[in-house]
Symmetry: C2
Subunit: 164 residues, 2 copies
Amino acid sequence: MNNLEMSVNVAINNWQQQVNAFNSVLDKLSTDDLLQEVAPNRNRGIYLLGHLVAVHDAMLPLLRFEEALYPELRPVFIEAADKTTETLPPAEQLKSQWNEVNNKLLAHYNALPADEWFTRHGSISEENFAHEPQRNRLNVLLSRTNHLSYHRGQLAFLLKKNQD
Amino acid sequence: MNNLEMSVNVAINNWQQQVNAFNSVLDKLSTDDLLQEVAPNRNRGIYLLGHLVAVHDAMLPLLRFEEALYPELRPVFIEAADKTTETLPPAEQLKSQWNEVNNKLLAHYNALPADEWFTRHGSISEENFAHEPQRNRLNVLLSRTNHLSYHRGQLAFLLKKNQD
Protein backbone atom coordinates (compact mmCIF):
# COMPACT_ATOMS: atom_id res chain seq x y z
CA MET A 1 0.00 0.00 0.00
CA ASN A 2 1.44 3.40 -0.95
CA ASN A 3 0.97 6.53 1.15
CA LEU A 4 -1.93 7.77 -0.94
CA GLU A 5 -3.81 4.52 -0.43
CA MET A 6 -2.85 4.64 3.24
CA SER A 7 -4.36 8.11 3.63
CA VAL A 8 -7.70 6.81 2.33
CA ASN A 9 -7.40 3.66 4.37
CA VAL A 10 -6.83 5.63 7.58
CA ALA A 11 -9.82 7.85 6.82
CA ILE A 12 -12.13 4.88 6.16
CA ASN A 13 -10.96 3.07 9.28
CA ASN A 14 -11.50 6.20 11.29
CA TRP A 15 -15.05 6.40 9.98
CA GLN A 16 -15.70 2.77 10.78
CA GLN A 17 -14.33 3.12 14.30
CA GLN A 18 -16.77 5.95 14.92
CA VAL A 19 -19.68 3.93 13.51
CA ASN A 20 -18.70 1.01 15.74
CA ALA A 21 -18.38 3.25 18.78
CA PHE A 22 -21.80 4.76 18.08
CA ASN A 23 -23.31 1.29 17.70
CA SER A 24 -21.80 0.25 20.97
CA VAL A 25 -23.68 3.10 22.69
CA LEU A 26 -26.87 2.34 20.75
CA ASP A 27 -26.78 -1.33 21.71
CA LYS A 28 -26.94 -0.40 25.38
CA LEU A 29 -30.01 1.82 25.01
CA SER A 30 -33.58 0.57 25.15
CA THR A 31 -36.38 2.05 23.04
CA ASP A 32 -37.55 3.84 26.18
CA ASP A 33 -34.07 5.27 26.72
CA LEU A 34 -34.09 6.62 23.16
CA LEU A 35 -37.30 8.51 23.84
CA GLN A 36 -35.56 10.56 26.55
CA GLU A 37 -33.85 13.89 25.98
CA VAL A 38 -30.06 13.49 26.13
CA ALA A 39 -29.92 16.57 28.42
CA PRO A 40 -32.67 18.89 29.72
CA ASN A 41 -34.49 20.57 26.79
CA ARG A 42 -32.14 19.02 24.23
CA ASN A 43 -32.75 16.50 21.46
CA ARG A 44 -34.11 13.08 22.24
CA GLY A 45 -31.97 10.03 21.47
CA ILE A 46 -34.35 8.90 18.75
CA TYR A 47 -34.06 12.25 17.01
CA LEU A 48 -30.25 12.07 17.04
CA LEU A 49 -30.45 8.55 15.60
CA GLY A 50 -32.85 9.62 12.85
CA HIS A 51 -30.76 12.72 12.17
CA LEU A 52 -27.66 10.59 11.66
CA VAL A 53 -29.51 8.13 9.39
CA ALA A 54 -30.74 11.04 7.26
CA VAL A 55 -27.30 12.71 7.11
CA HIS A 56 -25.51 9.46 6.25
CA ASP A 57 -28.18 8.57 3.70
CA ALA A 58 -27.57 11.94 2.03
CA MET A 59 -23.90 11.00 1.74
CA LEU A 60 -24.82 8.41 -0.90
CA PRO A 61 -25.60 11.09 -3.52
CA LEU A 62 -23.14 13.62 -2.00
CA LEU A 63 -20.31 11.17 -2.61
CA ARG A 64 -21.81 10.42 -6.05
CA PHE A 65 -22.40 6.77 -5.20
CA GLU A 66 -26.17 6.40 -5.66
CA GLU A 67 -29.52 7.95 -4.78
CA ALA A 68 -30.54 8.34 -1.14
CA LEU A 69 -32.43 5.29 0.15
CA TYR A 70 -34.68 7.13 2.60
CA PRO A 71 -35.17 10.71 1.40
CA GLU A 72 -38.40 10.89 3.43
CA LEU A 73 -36.26 11.17 6.58
CA ARG A 74 -34.76 14.51 5.53
CA PRO A 75 -37.78 16.75 6.31
CA VAL A 76 -38.24 15.06 9.70
CA PHE A 77 -34.66 14.77 10.90
CA ILE A 78 -32.71 17.47 9.07
CA GLU A 79 -35.15 20.23 8.13
CA ALA A 80 -37.32 19.95 11.25
CA ALA A 81 -36.10 20.23 14.83
CA ASP A 82 -36.91 17.59 17.42
CA LYS A 83 -40.34 17.69 19.05
CA THR A 84 -41.87 19.62 16.14
CA THR A 85 -43.05 16.54 14.20
CA GLU A 86 -46.20 14.74 15.32
CA THR A 87 -44.89 11.18 15.11
CA LEU A 88 -41.45 9.80 14.44
CA PRO A 89 -40.68 6.46 12.79
CA PRO A 90 -40.19 3.69 15.36
CA ALA A 91 -36.68 3.23 16.77
CA GLU A 92 -36.43 -0.31 15.41
CA GLN A 93 -37.01 0.94 11.88
CA LEU A 94 -34.42 3.70 12.25
CA LYS A 95 -31.88 1.23 13.61
CA SER A 96 -32.39 -1.05 10.66
CA GLN A 97 -32.09 1.89 8.22
CA TRP A 98 -28.98 3.04 10.07
CA ASN A 99 -27.26 -0.29 9.51
CA GLU A 100 -28.43 -0.48 5.91
CA VAL A 101 -27.11 2.98 5.02
CA ASN A 102 -23.78 2.46 6.78
CA ASN A 103 -23.26 -0.91 5.12
CA LYS A 104 -23.93 0.62 1.71
CA LEU A 105 -21.52 3.47 2.39
CA LEU A 106 -18.75 1.17 3.56
CA ALA A 107 -19.09 -1.03 0.48
CA HIS A 108 -18.82 2.06 -1.73
CA TYR A 109 -15.83 3.39 0.22
CA ASN A 110 -13.97 0.14 -0.16
CA ALA A 111 -14.68 -0.02 -3.89
CA LEU A 112 -13.58 3.54 -4.68
CA PRO A 113 -10.01 3.82 -6.06
CA ALA A 114 -7.80 6.09 -3.94
CA ASP A 115 -7.48 8.81 -6.58
CA GLU A 116 -11.25 9.08 -6.89
CA TRP A 117 -11.48 10.40 -3.31
CA PHE A 118 -9.87 13.60 -4.56
CA THR A 119 -12.54 14.31 -7.14
CA ARG A 120 -15.41 16.68 -6.48
CA HIS A 121 -18.30 15.87 -4.18
CA GLY A 122 -21.83 15.99 -5.54
CA SER A 123 -22.76 19.50 -4.37
CA ILE A 124 -20.10 21.40 -6.28
CA SER A 125 -19.86 21.91 -10.02
CA GLU A 126 -16.77 20.91 -12.00
CA GLU A 127 -16.21 24.61 -12.66
CA ASN A 128 -16.21 25.68 -9.02
CA PHE A 129 -14.25 22.60 -8.00
CA ALA A 130 -11.39 23.75 -10.22
CA HIS A 131 -11.04 26.73 -7.88
CA GLU A 132 -11.77 24.87 -4.65
CA PRO A 133 -10.15 21.42 -4.99
CA GLN A 134 -10.49 20.83 -1.24
CA ARG A 135 -14.20 20.27 -1.71
CA ASN A 136 -13.56 16.66 -2.60
CA ARG A 137 -15.05 13.39 -1.44
CA LEU A 138 -12.36 12.77 1.18
CA ASN A 139 -13.32 16.04 2.82
CA VAL A 140 -16.94 14.88 3.05
CA LEU A 141 -15.82 11.62 4.65
CA LEU A 142 -13.75 13.41 7.29
CA SER A 143 -16.34 16.03 8.14
CA ARG A 144 -19.14 13.49 8.43
CA THR A 145 -16.98 11.32 10.69
CA ASN A 146 -16.64 14.34 12.97
CA HIS A 147 -20.35 15.00 12.80
CA LEU A 148 -20.98 11.46 14.01
CA SER A 149 -18.52 11.87 16.91
CA TYR A 150 -20.20 15.14 17.88
CA HIS A 151 -23.58 13.49 18.31
CA ARG A 152 -22.17 10.31 19.87
CA GLY A 153 -20.80 12.49 22.65
CA GLN A 154 -24.37 13.63 23.27
CA LEU A 155 -26.11 10.27 22.89
CA ALA A 156 -23.70 8.83 25.47
CA PHE A 157 -25.48 10.90 28.12
CA LEU A 158 -28.39 8.47 27.91
CA LEU A 159 -26.16 5.72 29.27
CA LYS A 160 -26.28 5.10 32.98
CA LYS A 161 -23.07 6.16 34.70
CA ASN A 162 -21.88 2.55 35.03
CA GLN A 163 -22.46 1.85 31.33
CA ASP A 164 -20.24 4.52 29.84
CA MET B 1 -0.69 20.14 -4.93
CA ASN B 2 -0.75 16.40 -5.61
CA ASN B 3 -3.32 14.04 -4.08
CA LEU B 4 -1.03 12.94 -1.28
CA GLU B 5 -0.47 16.54 -0.21
CA MET B 6 -4.21 17.13 -0.60
CA SER B 7 -5.01 14.25 1.76
CA VAL B 8 -2.85 15.85 4.46
CA ASN B 9 -4.22 19.28 3.67
CA VAL B 10 -7.82 18.08 4.06
CA ALA B 11 -6.98 16.41 7.37
CA ILE B 12 -5.28 19.53 8.76
CA ASN B 13 -8.13 21.78 7.63
CA ASN B 14 -10.62 19.43 9.18
CA TRP B 15 -8.71 19.65 12.46
CA GLN B 16 -8.60 23.43 12.30
CA GLN B 17 -12.31 23.67 11.56
CA GLN B 18 -13.04 21.66 14.68
CA VAL B 19 -10.71 23.82 16.77
CA ASN B 20 -12.43 26.94 15.43
CA ALA B 21 -15.87 25.49 16.11
CA PHE B 22 -14.85 24.60 19.66
CA ASN B 23 -13.47 28.11 20.21
CA SER B 24 -16.68 29.58 18.95
CA VAL B 25 -18.56 27.70 21.70
CA LEU B 26 -15.94 28.59 24.30
CA ASP B 27 -16.12 32.28 23.45
CA LYS B 28 -19.81 32.33 24.34
CA LEU B 29 -19.32 30.79 27.77
CA SER B 30 -18.50 32.75 30.92
CA THR B 31 -16.26 31.40 33.66
CA ASP B 32 -19.41 30.72 35.66
CA ASP B 33 -20.89 28.78 32.74
CA LEU B 34 -17.76 26.64 32.60
CA LEU B 35 -18.18 25.67 36.23
CA GLN B 36 -21.54 24.05 35.45
CA GLU B 37 -22.01 20.40 34.56
CA VAL B 38 -22.80 20.03 30.85
CA ALA B 39 -25.65 17.65 31.78
CA PRO B 40 -26.85 16.35 35.17
CA ASN B 41 -24.04 14.41 36.91
CA ARG B 42 -21.73 14.76 33.93
CA ASN B 43 -18.43 16.58 33.51
CA ARG B 44 -18.21 20.30 34.06
CA GLY B 45 -17.24 22.54 31.17
CA ILE B 46 -13.95 23.45 32.80
CA TYR B 47 -13.03 19.79 33.10
CA LEU B 48 -13.73 19.18 29.42
CA LEU B 49 -11.60 22.19 28.54
CA GLY B 50 -8.73 20.99 30.75
CA HIS B 51 -9.11 17.46 29.39
CA LEU B 52 -8.78 18.72 25.83
CA VAL B 53 -5.75 20.87 26.68
CA ALA B 54 -4.06 17.84 28.28
CA VAL B 55 -4.93 15.51 25.36
CA HIS B 56 -3.78 18.00 22.74
CA ASP B 57 -0.63 18.78 24.72
CA ALA B 58 0.16 15.05 24.75
CA MET B 59 -0.06 15.10 20.94
CA LEU B 60 3.18 17.10 20.82
CA PRO B 61 5.29 14.09 21.87
CA LEU B 62 2.83 11.56 20.36
CA LEU B 63 3.39 13.13 16.95
CA ARG B 64 7.13 13.29 17.74
CA PHE B 65 7.17 17.09 17.53
CA GLU B 66 8.41 18.10 20.97
CA GLU B 67 7.89 17.54 24.69
CA ALA B 68 4.52 18.28 26.28
CA LEU B 69 4.27 21.87 27.50
CA TYR B 70 1.95 21.23 30.46
CA PRO B 71 2.47 17.63 31.64
CA GLU B 72 1.11 18.63 35.05
CA LEU B 73 -2.38 18.69 33.52
CA ARG B 74 -2.35 14.96 32.75
CA PRO B 75 -2.98 13.65 36.31
CA VAL B 76 -5.78 16.18 36.81
CA PHE B 77 -7.58 16.01 33.45
CA ILE B 78 -6.75 12.60 32.00
CA GLU B 79 -5.96 10.27 34.88
CA ALA B 80 -8.47 11.75 37.32
CA ALA B 81 -12.20 12.12 36.73
CA ASP B 82 -13.98 15.43 37.22
CA LYS B 83 -14.90 16.42 40.76
CA THR B 84 -12.22 14.20 42.30
CA THR B 85 -9.50 16.88 42.40
CA GLU B 86 -9.61 19.54 45.13
CA THR B 87 -8.89 22.57 42.98
CA LEU B 88 -8.63 22.99 39.23
CA PRO B 89 -6.52 25.60 37.45
CA PRO B 90 -8.51 28.76 36.65
CA ALA B 91 -10.44 28.80 33.37
CA GLU B 92 -8.45 31.76 32.07
CA GLN B 93 -5.19 29.85 32.45
CA LEU B 94 -6.62 26.79 30.70
CA LYS B 95 -7.90 28.94 27.84
CA SER B 96 -4.49 30.47 27.36
CA GLN B 97 -2.84 27.02 27.46
CA TRP B 98 -5.45 25.75 25.01
CA ASN B 99 -4.54 28.41 22.48
CA GLU B 100 -0.82 27.95 23.06
CA VAL B 101 -0.94 24.18 22.52
CA ASN B 102 -3.15 24.40 19.43
CA ASN B 103 -0.96 27.08 17.88
CA LYS B 104 2.12 24.92 18.44
CA LEU B 105 0.41 21.90 16.90
CA LEU B 106 -0.75 23.79 13.85
CA ALA B 107 2.72 25.19 13.20
CA HIS B 108 4.15 21.67 13.40
CA TYR B 109 1.44 20.27 11.13
CA ASN B 110 2.11 22.86 8.49
CA ALA B 111 5.86 22.24 8.63
CA LEU B 112 5.67 18.45 8.32
CA PRO B 113 6.26 17.11 4.78
CA ALA B 114 3.32 15.01 3.53
CA ASP B 115 5.24 11.72 3.51
CA GLU B 116 6.19 12.17 7.16
CA TRP B 117 2.55 11.85 8.18
CA PHE B 118 2.76 8.18 7.24
CA THR B 119 5.60 7.43 9.63
CA ARG B 120 5.03 5.93 13.09
CA HIS B 121 3.55 7.88 15.95
CA GLY B 122 5.49 8.16 19.19
CA SER B 123 3.81 5.32 21.10
CA ILE B 124 4.72 2.48 18.76
CA SER B 125 8.17 1.03 18.14
CA GLU B 126 9.71 0.83 14.66
CA GLU B 127 9.45 -2.93 14.94
CA ASN B 128 5.73 -3.04 15.68
CA PHE B 129 5.02 -0.28 13.20
CA ALA B 130 6.38 -2.51 10.43
CA HIS B 131 3.44 -4.84 11.15
CA GLU B 132 0.87 -2.10 11.84
CA PRO B 133 1.59 0.75 9.40
CA GLN B 134 -1.81 2.27 10.10
CA ARG B 135 -0.53 3.47 13.46
CA ASN B 136 0.95 6.53 11.83
CA ARG B 137 0.80 10.23 12.62
CA LEU B 138 -2.08 10.90 10.24
CA ASN B 139 -4.16 8.40 12.18
CA VAL B 140 -3.46 10.32 15.41
CA LEU B 141 -4.53 13.57 13.75
CA LEU B 142 -7.83 12.09 12.57
CA SER B 143 -8.70 10.34 15.80
CA ARG B 144 -7.90 13.41 17.92
CA THR B 145 -10.03 15.56 15.63
CA ASN B 146 -12.92 13.20 16.35
CA HIS B 147 -12.18 13.31 20.05
CA LEU B 148 -12.49 17.08 19.95
CA SER B 149 -15.82 16.89 18.10
CA TYR B 150 -17.12 14.38 20.64
CA HIS B 151 -16.53 16.75 23.54
CA ARG B 152 -17.64 19.85 21.64
CA GLY B 153 -21.03 18.17 21.24
CA GLN B 154 -21.17 18.00 25.03
CA LEU B 155 -19.78 21.45 25.81
CA ALA B 156 -22.41 22.95 23.50
CA PHE B 157 -25.06 22.01 26.09
CA LEU B 158 -23.79 24.88 28.24
CA LEU B 159 -24.96 27.33 25.61
CA LYS B 160 -28.35 28.85 26.08
CA LYS B 161 -30.82 27.60 23.49
CA ASN B 162 -30.64 30.83 21.50
CA GLN B 163 -26.83 30.72 21.37
CA ASP B 164 -26.36 27.35 19.69
